[in-house]
């Protein structure tokens, strides 16, 4: 099966190892991984700021870059949710509308793709740590992912998952929100990290590096004893 990966802009720039680990897992699952090296961003940042027209130009580029693909897989529910749910609003009553309808059916968040398309949950990963799992808002409410990452983590040897309180509550990232209203965003991170610390977990794991970038930056600044890992990093461990 040929899988075209989308590497979100911030993963491309800040966390390339997450994308490499996703590739590693997809290849182990038997996929032929394709990467169009022209790709950049899905267009979400400007859209969420209200700059729909600027966003639209980048969405057009995304449509072009992923035109001839079978499946598109990305390690970010946030980007995938945006493409699935908002492209059709941006391109309503336009010539790209039909293309968007095709696109949104073939793009998948990484864990969703593994569990629901490939129907594979066990990659012989080993990760001997206590972790807690953070449900990203985009995974929960944009992509309707809840059990998929947990099913995958359940097969990781040595991994103990302890659920935290208020696990479905937003971590407070929210893109530009985190820099426009940094104190509110910081207070939300504080509660998220406190809930995680109460589980005694060493790691917070999630489908979304954007949440983790925020949570991790907050925990590090306060030197709190918890680290963050993308689920692709966990699934690629130990083999």
């Amino acid at each position: 099966m040929k899988v075209s990966i989308f590497v979100p802009c911030f993963i491309d720039q800040l966390y390339p190892q997450v994308a490499f680990n996703m590739v590693k897992v997809l290849q182990k699952a038997g996929c032929e991984v394709d990467y169009n090296a022209n790709q950049t961003c899905c267009g979400q940042p400007a859209f969420n700021a209200g700059f729909y027209e600027d966003s639209k130009d980048i969405c057009r580029k995304f449509l072009k870059d992923f035109k001839d693909t079978e499946y598109i897989v990305a390690p970010s529910a946030s980007c995938v949710g945006f493409v699935k749910n908002n492209y059709s609003k941006l391109f309503e009553n336009s010539s790209e509308g039909a293309e968007v309808n095709v696109l949104k059916e073939k793009i998948y968040e990484f864990t969703d793709f593994l569990v629901n398309v490939l129907k594979q949950e066990d990659f012989n990963a080993v990760f001997e740590n206590k972790i807690t799992y953070h449900d990203s808002c985009a995974a929960l409410r944009e992509c309707h992912i809840k059990k998929e990452p947990r099913a995958l983590l359940d097969h990781v040897k040595g991994l103990e998952l302890v659920e935290m309180n208020d696990v479905e509550t937003c971590c407070g990232f929210g893109g530009s929100f985190a820099v426009k209203f940094e104190d509110i965003s910081g207070a939300m991170a504080d509660q998220k990290v406190n809930n995680a610390l109460q589980t005694d977990a060493k790691y917070i794991v999630s489908t979304d590096m954007s949440c983790l970038m925020h949570i991790d930056g907050y925990a590090k600044k306060r030197q709190l004893p918890v680290k963050c890992l993308h689920i692709a990093d966990v699934l690629a461990s130990g083999w």
């Binding site: 209200g50 700059f51 130009d57 820099v179």
Partner: protein, 473 residues
Amino acid sequence: MAKKNDTLEYSKIDSRPGEPAFKARSSVKAKDIEHRRKINFNIGRYNAVVPVGKTQFYDLETARMMAKNKKWEAIEHLDRSLLQFEEELVKRGGEVIWAQDADEALANILEICKAVNCKTVVKSKSMVTEEIHLNAFLGQNGIDSIETDLGEYIQQLDEEPPYHIVTPAMHKSKEDVARLFANKLGTEPNLNPSQLTQIARYKLREKYVQAEVGVTGANFLIAETGSIALTENEGNGRLSAGFPKIHIAIVGIEKVIPKLEDLALFWPLLSTYGTGQFVTAYNSIISGPRQKNSEPDGPERMIVILLDNGRTKMLADAKTREAMFCIRCGSCLNACPIYKNIGGHAYGTTYSGPIGKVITPWLRGMPDYKHLSNSSSLCGNCTEVCPVKINIHELILNNRHEAVVRGESKLSERLAWKMWKVSSNSRALMNAGNGNLKNKVVGSLFKAWNKHHTPLEFAPKTFNQMWKEQHKN
């Protein structure tokens, strides 16, 4: 633009408009751990009972969709449904006043009060009366306006506006209330909640006897029968409406539902999402003043003031119109992680929380309130819990877009997105510079990030560069 009634804001609570004032207030509350504890405790109690209330619905999702459709019907046909309401109410001797803004509503209320030489008004809980600052206005005109809902009475004693649209004193612990009563009423400082309630009841009963005018809001306007529907738990609403000689109901025009039978859906829905109850303890349908030949008691006049105050601006916008479906249950406030951090007063608006972020920029103007739409992480939990399925977080986002379309975004932000667009359109630019250089550029652009986070660390090379190096052939 400052309107006359803006001078009537509560002096104790800072509610200055604009982003800097909002940021200052919200930053203080976000750090207030005791505030966080009280709110989490009180919302925790709400969260525990709502699932119980929901069990009364055989098919909750269908109920919510039906409610949304009913509100859609009423709002889409507002031109007819409001006239129908007026026609039916007038048939039974009621009066209807159409008020375009707060000043018009206040002037009408004052005229009604003066005609009977009114000294005391008893009122039940109503957010619309908060919106027009009725208590302060009447006070300035020598009329005592007494809140009779316990939570609102507490807030009035403390000279604070309601903190929450359903639970006005949610931010106060029972100890806080006992202290407040001791300070303001001279009671013993350690009274328990039922003792405090008895004292409030005793004080308020006197006021009912004195009051010449009773003021209420309405949870619903029933177009078919020309009735208002009141939902409450203390019986103070029906006393305020029924005991004084004159009953004034002030109601936003969006409160219409088409038919009487629709209450069978809306009353349980509002109760469950508002407080977790199946239905509230008191539910009244009031369809006019005392009918002279058939009713022994009741007010001699019943006047319904239909208030616009900016609502027709929302109505005119095809997307935002959906916000008028709101039944003011408060569930989006309780579900909002930002509300739980900054509390109800930090917003500086009558309607706080997610729905307040949607409607306030329309009611009070984008320039002073568009920042509220930006102060959201767009987590979507508000949309998930809305009983009438308003796409709240999408409307918040739509407000951001509206501000951009109206040219109200900052120049610096417009430039930043143009730069973003240029670089996101070019793979070469995305790969330009090394990690260290990017750290410096981004670090200087996002100073606010470094307040609560360690600085972002760009990888020495992008994924794109590394992939290309690995796949040269």
